[in-house]
C-alpha cells in the first residue's frame, strides 16, 4: 500500500480529532491547577508563630478592647474582647480593619519639621497669641498641651470635645434628634447592651440606620427640633428616666434635659481620670467660640486623635490676618493639612502607645492605653513631645506619671483582658497597676464620682437667611464623622455595596436631582452660603425630597453646619 502525503494529513487530523474524545485534553486543562497554584501575582501570606496580643482601639474615644491575632509581631486580625466591661466583645468596622492603616497609600509620612519649628519659634518670640486646638480632650497629651500653654506667654488651650457624658443604662426613653445612637455614636458594645432597656425615638428627616432599628421614627425636618422637643416633653415625664440627644450638640438639649430631670442622673459632666496634683495649674480649656476673632498668631492643631471636626471657617476667623502660622499634626492630607502652612506626620493606631479619654456613654471615668502593636516609620512626630519641647517643659513619661496619679487616688478597679479579671486599685502596687495598663488593662472609676454638668445655652444661628432663597435643599449629614484614614479594604467594600455614603458624596432624591439636572455618579458642586466644594452625586429614592444627604469629608464639613440650606449644581 502506498502512502501519500494526503494520507499523512488525514492520519494527523484524525488523531487530533480522536484525542479530543479521550480524557487527555481534559486532564491537561485540569492540570492548569499546577500552574495557577503558584501564580506569580498572588502574594504569599506571612508565616511565623501565631500569637495573641491585646490593646485598646484609639480610633475614637470609645476605646474598645482589642484582641490582635499576630504572626510574630505583625497583627493580621483584630477582634473584640468578649469579657471587656465596656466594649463587651464588639468592634466596629473601622476597628476591625485598623491594622491596615499604617500601610494606607495616602498616609502622610514626611513633613517640614525644621521649617515648622523655626516659623513657630519666631512667631512665639514676638509675643503674639499661640493656641493649641485639641480635637480629643481628656488625654494625657491634652494635659501636656494645657501645661505647655500655661508655660507660654499668651498661650491658649482650645477644645471642641463634649462637655457631658450620658448613661444609657439608666434611661427608659431616649429621644434622639439625628444622633446616630446605634451607628457609632458611643461605645458600640455598651450601647447595644443598654438598648434592650430603653425605648428609642429617633427624630430625623432620613431613615438612617438608627431610625431603622428605633422603636419610633419621626421624620422631622432640620430646624423643627425645638418645636418637636417641646411638643414631646410632656409625654417623656420628668422623673429623670428620659434622655434627649441632639445632633447640634449637648447644649441644644440642655434645657430639655434639665426639665426632664436628666441632669446628674443620665446626663453628667464628662468624667476624667485623676491627674497628678502638679498638673492642675495648667491652662484652662477654652472653647474656640470664646476666643476673640483675629487674635491667634500661631495655631497648633492635633489631628492625630479626633473626636469630631471643627469647620475651617470657624477656625480661620480666629487667626490674625497678617501671616498666621498654622501647624497641623496629622496622618493624612485630607483634613486641616489643606489649610495649614505645615503638616507634620504622626503615628497611627496601632503604632503608638497613648491613652484614650473617657467615652461619651460612660458616666464613670476610665483610663486605658492603646499599646503599640507595631513600630511607627521613621520621620513621624509625637505632637505632645513637639509642643512640650517648644514650651520648654521637662521631659518625662507623662503617661506613667498620670497612671501613678490614678493609683495614688486608690479609686476604682482595673480589668485585664488576658485573664479577664478585675482587681481593685487599692489591692495593687503602683508597679503592678502600670503593668496591667501596659497589658491593655482598663481602669474604671467608681460611678459615684459622677456629677451634674454645668448648664449651658446653645448659641443658635438663624436657619433662614436672605441669601438662602436660591438654596432649595436642607443639608443633612449621613452619619458620624469617620477617622481621617480608612482601611482601603473597607473603602472598597462600602463603595461596591453602596452600604454607606462615601465621604466625598452627596445623595439626592430623584426629583431633586432632575431639578438640578444631575445624573447618578456625576461630579458636582455642593454649595451653601459658607462656600462650596466638589462632590460626587448619588441618587437615592429612599431619601425624602428637599434633603441633601452629605458624606463627612472635611471639604463638605467646611461648608456645613446643622440645618444649613444648600444646593447641588453641575460641575
Amino acid at each position: 500500500m502506498k502512502s501519500t502525503r494526503r494520507d499523512l494529513f488525514l492520519f494527523a487530523g484524525g488523531s487530533a480529532a480522536g484525542a479530543l474524545l479521550t480524557p487527555a485534553p481534559w486532564r491537561l486543562i485540569t492540570d492548569t491547577a499546577l500552574w495557577s497554584e503558584n501564580w506569580p501575582g498572588v502574594p504569599a501570606p506571612p508565616r511565623g508563630e501565631i500569637r495573641t496580643r491585646f490593646t485598646n482601639c484609639s480610633l475614637c474615644r470609645a476605646g474598645c478592647g482589642v484582641r490582635a491575632r499576630c504572626v510574630g509581631d505583625q497583627p493580621v486580625q483584630l477582634t473584640g474582647v468578649a469579657s471587656h466591661p465596656l466594649s463587651r466583645g464588639v468592634l466596629c468596622p473601622f476597628g476591625l480593619t485598623a491594622h491596615h492603616l499604617p500601610y494606607h497609600p495616602a498616609r502622610l509620612k514626611q513633613g517640614p519639621h525644621e521649617r515648622a519649628l523655626a516659623a513657630v519659634s519666631a512667631a512665639i518670640g514676638s509675643g503674639d497669641r499661640v493656641a493649641v486646638l485639641d480635637l480629643q480632650p481628656g488625654r494625657t497629651a491634652s494635659w501636656t498641651y494645657r501645661r505647655a500653654m500655661a508655660a507660654l506667654k499668651n498661650g491658649v488651650y482650645l477644645t471642641n470635645g463634649p462637655s457631658v457624658a450620658y448613661d444609657l443604662h439608666q434611661a427608659k426613653t431616649v429621644l434622639s434628634f439625628g444622633v446616630p445612637v446605634l451607628d457609632g455614636w458611643g461605645t458600640p458594645g455598651n450601647v447595644i447592651a443598654a438598648r434592650e432597656n430603653f425605648r428609642l425615638i429617633q427624630a430625623e428627616p432620613v431613615e438612617s440606620r438608627t431610625a431603622t432599628l428605633a422603636d419610633v421614627w419621626l421624620p422631622v425636618q432640620p430646624g423643627d427640633e425645638d418645636a418637636t422637643a417641646l411638643a414631646m416633653a410632656g409625654e417623656l415625664g420628668a422623673d429623670g428616666s428620659a434622655l434627649v440627644l441632639d445632633h447640634r450638640g449637648p447644649a441644644a438639649a440642655m434645657a430639655l434635659n434639665q426639665r426632664l430631670g436628666a441632669l446628674g442622673r443620665t446626663v453628667v459632666a464628662r468624667p476624667e481620670a485623676p491627674v497628678p496634683v502638679e498638673w492642675r495649674s495648667a491652662a484652662p480649656a477654652t472653647a474656640l467660640a470664646q476666643v476673640e476673632d483675629r487674635s491667634i498668631r500661631v495655631l497648633l492643631i492635633d489631628e492625630s486623635a479626633v473626636d469630631g471636626y471643627v469647620p475651617w471657617y470657624q477656625i480661620e476667623r480666629k487667626l490674625v490676618l497678617d501671616n498666621p502660622v498654622v501647624v497641623t499634626f496629622t496622618a493624612s492630607h485630607g483634613g486641616y493639612a489643606r489649610h495649614a502652612q505645615y503638616a507634620l506626620p504622626t503615628a497611627v493606631y496601632p503604632e503608638i502607645s497613648e491613652d484614650i479619654p473617657t467615652a461619651i456613654d460612660s458616666v464613670a471615668a476610665t483610663f486605658r492605653l492603646s499599646t503599640a502593636l507595631i513600630a511607627p516609620p521613621a520621620g513621624i512626630v509625637n505632637p505632645a513631645e513637639w509642643i512640650a519641647t517648644l514650651a520648654g517643659l521637662a521631659e518625662g513619661d507623662t503617661i506613667r506619671e498620670r497612671a501613678d496619679g490614678i493609683h495614688d487616688s486608690g479609686r476604682g478597679a482595673i480589668y485585664t483582658p488576658a485573664d479577664g479579671k478585675t482587681v481593685a486599685v487599692k489591692d495593687l502596687t503602683a508597679e503592678a497597676f502600670w503593668k496591667s495598663l501596659g497589658e491593655a488593662g482598663c481602669w474604671i472609676d467608681e460611678p459615684r464620682h459622677a456629677r451634674a454638668p454645668e448648664t449651658t445655652t446653645a448659641v443658635s444661628e438663624p436657619h433662614a437667611h436672605d441669601s438662602d432663597v436660591d438654596l432649595p435643599l436642607v443639608a443633612w449629614l449621613a452619619g458620624p464623622s469617620s477617622p481621617p484614614l480608612l482601611s482601603p479594604l473597607m473603602t472598597k467594600l462600602y463603595q461596591e455595596s453602596n452600604l454607606r455614603l462615601a465621604p466625598n458624596r452627596v445623595a439626592l432624591h430623584p426629583s431633586d436631582a432632575r431639578a438640578a439636572r444631575l445624573a447618578d455618579g456625576v461630579h458636582a458642586f455642593f454649595q451653601t452660603r459658607l462656600g462650596r466644594c466638589g462632590v460626587d452625586v448619588t441618587i437615592d429614592p429612599g431619601l425624602p425630597a428637599g434633603v441633601v444627604q452629605l458624606g463627612t469629608a472635611p471639604g463638605i464639613l467646611d461648608v456645613y453646619r446643622p440645618g444649613i440650606r444648600a444646593k447641588v449644581v453641575p460641575a
Binding site: 502574594p43 461596591e496 455595596s497
Partner: protein, 257 residues
Amino acid sequence: MTHANQPTKAARYGMTIDVDRCNGCGACMVACAVENNIPPVPEANDRKGLTWIRVFRVDNGEQGSARRSAYVPMMCQHCGADAPCVSVCPQHAVDVDPATGIVGEMPQRCLGCRYCMAACPYHARYFNWWDPAWPPGMEKTLNPGVTPRMRGVVEKCNFCHGRWHAAKQLAAANGQPDGPVSYTPACVEACPTGVIRFGDLNDAENPVARSVRENGSFRLLETLGTEPKVYYRSRKDWVRQIAAAPKPGQRKENGNG
C-alpha cells in the same frame, strides 16, 4: 475537597440571620474580607466587586414616613445536595461536602467560565476580575490561614473553611473522635448585635438548629427547592414577601430591593 476520611457522623452547618435586628453596619463584610484575604481593589464597583458577603438594603416600597427599610446580609446560601452551581461546573471545582454540608469552591480548578454565577439564584458568587494586589506593606497583614486567589476565578463564602480546618486540627490534637466540631465564622464573630448565628443543623440541641424551626424563620427563594442552609428571621411581612420566590410568570408585587 477530598472525602477519603469521612467522619462517622456528618454535620450540616447552617446560619440564622435576624433581619429585624441587623443595623447594616457592615462589620460582617469587613471581617469576612479580612479573614479571607479579599484584596482592596480600588476600581471595584457594585457589578464587578469582590466580596463573600454583601449587606443589601431593602425597603417596603413606600415613600415618606411610611417607608421602612431593612438590611439583609447575603452570602452563599449553601444549598443542599442539588446546589445549582455544582451541576453546572465543568471542572468539578464546586462540590457539597457530605461531612459538613458546606458548598466548597476550589479556585485552583476553576476555569473562570462563570457558569456557576449564572446558575446561582442568589447572586452570591463573585468573579475575581483583577490580580490580587495590596498597597505596599499591607500584604503583611494577610491571614496566613487562607490562600489568596488568583485573577480569573470565581469566589464565594465557604463558611470560613480555614477556621473549620483549624477546629478539626485542634479537636484531633485534643484526642477528640472524628466528627462535627464547633467553630465560629468571621462574620458571626464580628456581628456587633449578634444577628448572625452559626451551628450544626443536625444537632437538635444546637440553638441554631432549634431557632430555624421557630415561627418567623424563612429561607430565600424557598420555592426553588435549593434547600439553602442559611435561614433568615423577620416578623415583618414585607421582608418575608421579598424573600419568597415568585412562581414562573408571576411578577413580584411588593418590595423593592
